[in-house]
């Protein structure tokens, strides 16, 4: 089962086959649950969100477009959006973005079944984001993980809104360059 590509495993998952479904979940569960538990800081809520993320992936598998990104990032985007929905109904601060970044460096990576592909992808992104200045890294993590808008980042960091937007836009441009993506906006 571990030799199946992500897309083939997703297709098996979507078909409702229990064995392939379990294999699909096990391939990504550490990433999905890891994102949820670090954003929500509540293991029970994180498990509920993580389960829901896989359920939604199963329901929407037919709409997954491989040309637009990996299965992992698609699944993590679903998870991130569910976490944002859950956080909106809660008061109190979300996780410190520095924690996300610090854990990203220390994280030993996913389990052996993902290792061949994911480690190289994660390492690539990890190396790329660490080429950015601290304020741009922080702005991108606040936006990407915690859904903070430029206005909210400006309040949080005590900077003008224009500066917050510049950090986001410049950070993304540098990240794209570091990841060697062709767009030059």
């Amino acid at each position: 089962m571990w030799s199946l590509s992500d897309e083939k495993l997703l297709a098996g998952f979507a078909s409702g086959d229990p064995e392939q479904g379990a294999a699909f979940v096990r391939r990504y569960q550490a990433r999905v649950y890891g994102l949820a538990v670090h954003l929500l800081r509540d293991p029970d809520a994180a498990e509920e969100v993580a389960q829901e993320a896989f359920i939604r992936a199963w329901r929407h598998a037919a709409s997954y477009d491989g040309s637009r990104g990996q299965v992992a990032t698609w699944l993590l985007t679903i998870t991130r959006n569910l976490c944002r929905d859950a956080l909106r109904s809660r008061r109190g601060d979300a996780v410190d973005p520095e924690l996300i970044l610090a854990l990203a460096i220390e994280d030993s990576g996913p389990g052996p079944e993902e290792q061949a592909v994911m480690d190289s992808e994660c390492d690539r992104v990890r190396e790329a984001i660490w080429t950015l200045p601290h304020d741009q890294r922080r702005a991108l993590v606040l936006a990407a993980f915690l859904g903070r808008t430029a206005s909210q980042i400006s309040e949080l960091e005590g900077i003008p809104v224009g500066t917050a937007k510049t950090r986001i836009r410049t950070g993304m441009r540098k990240l794209r360059a570091a990841l060697e993506v062709g767009y030059d906006g």
């Binding site: 409702g16 550490a30 890891g34 498990e47 990032t73 993590l76 569910l82 992808e121 430029a150 986001i168």
Partner: protein, 242 residues
């Protein structure tokens, strides 16, 4: 404004939109533009890929034991003809509590709700009593709300549904630069295949459609919004049978 200037303006907005923190108005404008500009569409896809890659930085952590088994069991329960009580109980906690703008049925004419609330605290008995009263109005057996979601799972609209006399759905979806007539609501059913409910009608920035259902509610397995080419652009989950 020249075409190049238009593109420059939109390209500046791409990072925030790709990160999911842009305004609805900006998102609507950009999506309408990239539909018509191949260069900007390519840029949008590249920036979106970078934003998605950021999520790979998320730390990993193993979930509790048997997590995969529980997910597979939930999927099996959704595929079964009847729902397990556990998932139905979970559904019952998702109640609609804010006023709505318009509707085709008498229940909405009573001024019932328009936003989705997931409550894990609060007076469950009071909520249950309100829910029972809502259903009693038109001999209902089910009333709920579902999110409409795009391919990435991001919510983009919602659906209200009522099983009673009559049964109906009320769909609200952002137009995102499209003409309402380009978006059609369809339902997938167990016994009658895919049925067309109608085209969205403009209501400000969104398209809406309120119609009575041509089949019993338990027959509905899914609701989708499709474009002129028949491609699904938004999907709602199937409601549990009452």
């Amino acid at each position: 404004m020249t075409a190049e200037r238009h593109c420059e303006e939109f390209l500046r907005l791409l990072p925030e939109l790709a990160l999911g923190i842009g305004s609805d108005r900006d998102r609507k404008g950009v999506l309408a533009h990239v539909d018509q500009c191949p260069d900007c569409r390519r840029a949008w896809e590249e920036v979106s890929a970078v934003a998605a890659d950021l999520l790979l930085l998320a730390p990993t952590q193993d979930p509790p034991p048997e997590f995969a088994t529980r997910v597979v069991q939930r999927i099996a329960a959704e595929q079964a003809p009847g729902r397990q009580e556990g998932s139905l109980h979970r559904w019952r906690r998702r109640l609609v509590t804010a006023p709505v703008a318009a509707a085709a049925a008498s229940v909405l004419a009573m001024g019932l709700v328009g936003s989705y609330v997931y409550s894990t605290t609060g007076d469950e008995r009071e909520i249950a009593a309100r829910y029972r009263e809502t259903l009693r109005i038109a001999d209902g057996t089910y009333f709920g709300a579902l999110a409409l979601r795009g391919p990435s799972g991001e919510q983009s609209g919602h659906v209200f549904g009522y099983q009673g006399r009559p049964s109906w759905v009320f769909v609200v979806a952002p137009l995102q630069g499209r003409r309402p007539a380009q978006l059609t609501v369809v339902i997938d059913t167990r016994t009658a295949g895919t049925l067309r409910l109608g085209e969205l009608r403009p209501t400000g920035d969104v398209g809406t459609l309120g119609v009575t259902l041509p089949v019993p509610f338990p027959d509905v397995t899914g609701l989708r919004v499709v474009n002129e080419g028949g491609t699904t652009v938004l999907t709602a989950d199937a409601p549990p049978p009452p």
